[in-house]
Amino acid sequence: MPARPYYSDVSVIELDGLEVRLGGRTVLDGLSGELRGNAIGLLGPNGAGKSTLINTLLGFHEPLRGAARVFGLDTRRDRARIRQGIGYMPENDSFIGNMSGVRFVRFMAELAGLPRSEALERAHQALFYVGLGEVRYRKISTYSLGMKQLIKLAQALAHGPRLLILDEPTNGLDPMARQRMIQTIQEIRKEGSIRLLISSHLLRDIDETCDEVLILKQGRVAALRNIEEERRSNRNFIEMETVGSTTEFCERLRGLGCECASFPDGRVKLVMPDTIDVRDVYVLASENNIEIRRIHRRRDSLEDIFLRAMENDPARGELVRL
């Protein structure tokens, strides 16, 4: 099935001056913005308000001022309808340990409104989908940490939600289990019928799974970026350390359509058009007797975005949209 476009006309989440106070402290301070991506990352340091924003979207916290809307439904007035269309995977352990995996997922699917037989069928499917098919009759209390993360994902998927909210999905997972979780999320995104909201403090998780990122800092919006566009713009940014005369080499690179700058110490920086591959650069270097000692492709643009966002003090209530 072809992947959906990264953005659609329907806004997934709208925040309108959202202010939430918990325990006498302002946790979300006038958030405003519109999120339309298929997979939205929620980034921020600990205490930035990521989990509070998710809990507010689910209706667990009442906004003090402003409003939050999910698919146009207000979190105050349409709580039940919003929850109907959401699959939620909480950050911490959250399950009923003395139930078998399939019974637990079926229970959650029935609570979400699926008829009994349909809930059972989809519980089996969801468990196979996340890779817990073989252990679905075991009690959840006997599952490993990775399996417990996956059972939370399975119950979030079982009723076929429109929006899947994943709060720190790779929390506590070993590298293999993390990779498996990331692959599953990527498959869900690729399938295209579910929008994703993924909260994490790990840049890598967001970078690998999301196409849009909302960065929070001290309860305010620090940045909202389209990762795909950032990635695309930085994809062919290359730095090289070379030995030999680079003048003619740079001329020929420009002839191919590259933007090229050479420096006296042999460093060459270039931005390549999409039509050119790195292999062409090696061929040109060979033809001009240039020895490439080191080549560096800049990829981790999300880290730059995040660091820039953390440097600035976010303004309260500033509307951000893509």
Partner: protein, 291 residues
């Protein structure tokens, strides 16, 4: 779609109504409560007095059987309001034991594994969650209290040679009303205490303690201060007085120091309100850390 096709598809079929989600909760809670062998043992034990009372009604209405079994003894069994009060009292104690075992199973499992964020992220409110658990506990207690008691009443009406039911309808109404008040109170109390204690055994103990400790304190206070108001802390005594009035038990065989109906009602409402406050504080998807 086969379960072997490892691919995802959205649900496009119909969904159940919002109120029916409470039934789902109640159904799973009932299954959880009755999955324990100890629950079955307690249920069987709760039926033993019913069997004895059934035999009693049979003997009371069958002179031949009475003559054969009692071998000419002159014992006379009267099936009246005080007989049914005894049934209600014995079954109510058994209902307390059953509550102490079942209520923690319904709530503590959810709290121990922090299941509330996932449960409440579905289209069900906190009230709906508590109501579902309440229905499960109330139903479980019903089958050891008013249901067998009314069946015994019906059996007495069937076996009695005189037209008995019409003349004693108040007993049936009292049985039903008294049982409903008691098991509603037990259900709310059991759920509230279980929601505050994660360990099931401690929760079981706390339910017994919540009924018996104030009763002892109230008894001591009444004896020392020579007042009847201490019995307001004594749930068993308070309920016995209420049941006796509801069923029309004659004054001559009632409990000594009578409490006014308004005081009993106010005390029961106060206990329920405290339980609701306790449930409201604990049944939440998230804990709010202050400071």
């Amino acid at each position: 779609m086969s379960v072997f096709k490892h691919e995802y598809r959205a649900h496009t079929g119909p969904v159940t109504s919002l109120p029916s989600r409470i039934r789902v909760l109640a159904r799973y809670a009932l299954a959880e409560a009755w999955s324990s062998k100890i629950t079955l043992v307690l249920f069987a034990a709760s039926m033993l007095p019913i069997v004895l009372y059934l035999v009693g009604i049979y003997l009371a209405n069958n002179p031949i059987a009475r003559a054969l079994i009692l071998r000419g003894g002159s014992a006379q069994l009267d099936i009246d309001a005080s007989f049914f009060l005894k049934i209600l009292v014995s079954q109510s104690w058994l209902a307390l034991v059953l509550t102490a075992w079942i209520a923690p199973r319904l709530v503590s499992f959810d709290l121990a594994d922090n299941a509330l964020p996932i449960l409440l992220s579905h289209p069900i409110s906190r009230f709906g969650y508590v109501l579902g658990k309440f229905i499960a506990l109330f139903s479980s207690l019903s089958i050891v209290t008013w249901i067998p008691a009314l069946l015994l009443f019906a059996y007495q009406g069937y076996t009695s040679p005189q037209p008995w039911v019409g003349a004693n309808l108040r007993i049936a109404v009292g049985l039903l009303a008294g049982s409903v008040v008691w098991i509603s109170l037990l259900s709310v109390l059991g759920l509230a205490l279980s929601s505050w204690v994660k360990w099931r055994m401690v929760a079981t103990g706390s339910i017994f303690a919540a009924v018996l400790v104030p009763a002892g304190v109230g008894g001591v206070a009444s004896a020392i201060l020579r007042t009847k108001w201490g019995f307001l802390l004594n749930l068993p005594v308070m309920m016995s007085q209420l049941w006796a009035r509801l069923m029309g038990v004659p004054d001559s065989i009632r409990f000594g120091r009578e409490l006014p109906n308004t005081a009993i009602a106010a005390m029961l409402v106060s206990i329920c309100l405290v339980c609701v406050v306790m449930l409201n504080a604990r049944i939440r998807a998230r804990e709010v850390v202050r400071g």
